[in-house]
Symmetry: D2
Subunit: 363 residues, 4 copies
């Protein structure tokens, strides 16, 4: 259960790390959207392993096939099914994990919950599952681009290497110009160094990603359970390795007093704006027209190439040497995934808002 996301633009994700492949079905995509593999592949390529020396050497082209929902290069309004076959799978690399639970992985909880698991490459708990999200998110992102909405995530901190605050929304090119996906180039270099140090030591590092959205209109979101920030929080905490989410001023803002924290309204260019943006672009769960921004904490990768104590499936204490091909730091590859999940949340709220608030005239 729990493999679908969204209400109106609803995706269903499937697939394991080793097996037939990873796929996704989008139900609810509007018709007549120009769509081809070229719209999807770039973000998959940004996510794919083997793209630089700071990512896992597993080499997958992650080439996507669109199986349905598009005809004559336009969406039909029917489900769009997409498939990425697994290629560079090495199931034998995981033989030891069949019996021994990897620390801070999902092996033990999967085994306990389901009584059965695909131990090869983590099965469904593998980050390969996020291929489904990125493929679907690319469709959402394209739709949102017609509304001039720009979604930009980037790495803000690796371990304790923190980029300075950047005022203007960085361009995609700036983000993509370094393998760490930190648009501040000097910091990016230090980050890369830190990741390579960890890699060399058979260790791993974490950090935080900032996601910023410009161009959002006022009014997307909902007052109570389905607040925009609540849906974003769920989307982000549904990603592997995430441990925290904050919107706007976040945890730091709780050290301010109300008189310091409030965003005062002002009239700018005939439009209601706020003079500061500690709210992070949402008030009462609804976008207020300012830049939406939020931060996600990613823990250091659980797989470390060191010997660790653990327990086997019989409950006996044992040791396990980390193997497999893994990223010493997941953040650079997580950037397009964060953007994808953001796009999925936003397109759904756009459609919900239109349905309830923008299609009736009772005057």
């Amino acid at each position: 259960m729990g493999n679908s996301f969204g209400t109106l633009f609803r995706i269903s994700s499937w697939g394991e790390s080793h097996g037939g492949g990873i796929g996704v079905v989008i139900d609810g995509c509007p018709p007549r959207l120009p769509l081809s593999v070229e719209d999807i592949q770039p973000d998959l390529t940004r996510r794919r392993p083997g793209q630089s020396k700071i990512t896992t050497p597993r080499d997958e082209a992650d080439q996507v096939e669109i199986l349905s929902g598009v005809f004559d290069s336009l969406t039909l309004g029917t489900p769009i099914a997409m498939l990425v076959r697994n290629q560079d799978a090495r199931p034998q690399a995981y033989d030891e994990m069949k019996e021994k639970f990897r620390p801070s992985h999902a092996d033990f909880t999967y085994q306990s919950k389901f009584g059965h698991r695909n131990h090869e490459g983590g099965g469904r708990s593998s980050a390969r599952e996020t291929i489904a999200r990125v493929a679907a998110g690319a469709v959402a992102k394209k739709i949102l681009s017609y509304d001039h909405i720009d979604i930009r995530a980037y790495v803000e901190r690796i371990h304790d290497i923190q980029a300075p605050s950047i005022e203007e929304l960085p361009t995609l090119e700036q983000v993509e110009s370094t393998p760490t996906r930190c648009p501040h180039s000097e910091t990016a270099e230090l980050m890369e160094k830190r990741i390579l140090e960890a890699k060399k030591a058979g260790d791993s590092v974490g950090g935080s990603i900032l996601c910023r959205v410009s161009g959002l209109p006022v009014g997307w979101g909902a007052p109570v359970f389905d607040r925009l920030e609540a849906d974003l929080a769920k989307a982000m905490l549904s990603l592997p390795a995430t441990k925290g989410f904050e919107v706007g001023s976040g945890f730091d803002g709780t050290y301010l007093k109300g008189s310091e924290h409030n965003d005062l309204y002002e009239s700018r260019d005939g439009k209601v704006s706020t003079s500061s943006n500690r709210s992070g672009g949402v008030q009462g769960g609804i976008s207020n027209g300012e830049e939406l921004y939020f931060r996600i904490a990613f823990k250091p990768t659980a797989t470390v190439l060191q010997k660790q104590k653990t327990v086997d499936s019989q409950g006996n204490e044992t040791e396990l040497m980390g193997r497999g091909r893994h990223d010493p730091c997941v953040l650079p590859r997580a950037v397009p995934i964060v953007e994808a999940m953001t796009s999925l949340v936003l397109i759904d709220h756009r459609m919900l808002h239109t349905a309830q608030c923008q299609s009736f005239d009772f005057s």
Copy 2:
């Protein structure tokens, strides 16, 4: 939209701050649960305004009426409707807010989204809406108590007054022994003082709440979108005034290396356990049998009794003097609300887990 929460134990919340009242309907409650007003009222009373000098003076008994779903003191398995009438409403106190948008409130976004709003007391954006959550959560909490699951939230930090770490799960009595709901009494006193200072200055403070759950079995949760922590993140970010969520080691944990962060498995009393708990009780979205814990950031209350710049509904810049009866700090009253939302997430995952994984025998 967005006024329902949960899949199997599903609640629908309704009501505005000023009007007929606040209510909730629970669909999916198991039958034959002993239930009466006495099970619900205590948490509502913990939430109600006017309970101490550090909360708003608005005086509401918030007496709940169970309208359906219970017969002969046992639940029927049919919807449980509960109603709390509004009593101490003073709509005229909000006259100025009819035309002027309160900074960092939902007035502007509601007006923009819906083209119409109930400006009295914030209408649906009022924290009175959380009555619905607390009432429904009390039912969920009672069900979970049969599984010996203990859900305990408490205030951990107010402004910069931080309680020391507490190893053992505090008792309800410890939490309730101070008006701040911080179980560390010396810290609680400092917190109270800080809140009263802010109140006196017409200002407000925020902070963080920690929620801890003991007694969870292994296996609740789901691998992908509906991870336990993802649903908790959504639940918490759906609460008014929340700006952040972190589970386990959270943001701080991202400063560790993988070799430092991993929770190693060990066999304790014939049961697989972890020697540390940076995961916070979940791995791969599924409970691992350790204590579940997470932290929520609450911003300082937006209403401050000071003059602030703002804009009116015609877009003209103006000033607004904060009025109305408000809490200088929402955290103490948010404690039962956090527990309620946690209970709702957990009961739903319990039912989902049973349905998929515990009711079939294919051998």
Copy 3:
């Protein structure tokens, strides 16, 4: 479970026949709809018991109270909660039913499923639950009236008294002009006589209701599971006492050959129309702009004032004499209920269609 209906215009129904009352919450209603009790009460009054000598003598005014979601006579876009208190309840009339299962009622299945039930007046299985549907349906019907959509149900057959086919959509006044709600007055008289005969004999009769909808645009509905006729079928079979549903030519149409059955397209007034309407206004699950029509079978009321064999809760065979105040024929009062459910299906499909197909421009 199963007490909610709809995706975007979603209602949650609650309440038992004897107890606090019957209520409904609508989530997703568009904002700024002019709404007051006067929009809801007329359909509740059409549904209420005691309205004529052919209905149950239980006398309930069924006065509705709107508890939330409306301010200054306009909807807010927030949940609309409505409540009808139970008044003329006589629980002692049901004492015998506490132990004995009434034939063809839900007593046995409720008891078996839930292990507990409210035996007074049938509890949740009472047709009083349909108050919730009628109240919510009245809101939907009002919204649809702005699109000039006219929903008209009427009694077509009682027992074997069948009204002739009526070409033009009857007016509401024509339907309401007789207590049977059959707009063909001579037939209506015969029907009334047949119902009174059954009543006198302590017996009951069933029949069929036809529902017709004019003014539907082309394009509402969906291709696969959520076909317009599928959602209507579910809506109708969710009503107490229904045993069948057919759309367009229905069961009779299956005696035709394809060449006889097909609706041929023609161009009428510059608009694509069909020369016949055996499809009943839907093709491939989507409205085609012709009149939508469907028929519902209602069985004879299960309560007969005669002695019947049955079994008690211990499994002992026994006899039960029908008691309580019941309708000898449910169809006249079911007419507004059918209209309500139809309205709820249609408003939801309108909103879904808008969200997916009418709010994007990719050119």
Copy 4:
């Protein structure tokens, strides 16, 4: 939208008649179910075209591939994705239909709703979509077989050739022994003749399918909107070419009086039973332990190999000669589809019932 079905055992269907193929994703399947292609293929083969002279000559093996969710021949509890590639597609056969709307097909409504369509073979409106249902239904059916639930559909009437009533549930072998899937062999022969006559005349015939389910326990279903018969009605009316649904006594039963129609309870073998079964196995929306049975009306196939009047996409009146490879009668191939949809409804209600009513002990 509307391409998913079910709440806990939820399927998502995708694919067009001509294109990458037809597929389905099942989310919520219990883990540890032994499952292989051999469990799925037989029902797909019963559904496939080209199986006899009374079905379309389009020749598709409809070989299914399981892409995920199964490991070591057991389900994982993760999504099961299945894919059937299209093979014998002849898109050019549909060239004329690009511009001309086929009478009583979905061409016009699809074009109007989506503004774009795949005209080849009907695209998503093709009955090939039901492959997804049959594949998913086969999994559900297998699970239900562990509960000794037997789901048997068969053709009861073709045009006006009606099989006599059959008391005992026919075996699968009896149903499969004739190409018409009518287990009464003499009637089956007449039916086959009637179909061949229609085929020869370039015409088509309809009829009705009866579906019977034995072995259902008491208690599956829900009281209000999600009544068992309501969900079955939706499931059946979601199938192409269906025009009606009736459960138990159906439309015919409305000609009886209450005293004639009621099913009296009796104690049989220490179990509460009914002496008749006009209810059709459900009371108040919940299974009562008797045989569940219902009937579905299928209209004559819309494609007839005759010249018919129609309109083109410019609104000009024209004529269209029916082409393509089609069934002169859909009922024989619809039998496994009806069983599949029935299985999907039942497994979902089983899981819902377990979750709410069978997994708590409050004593």
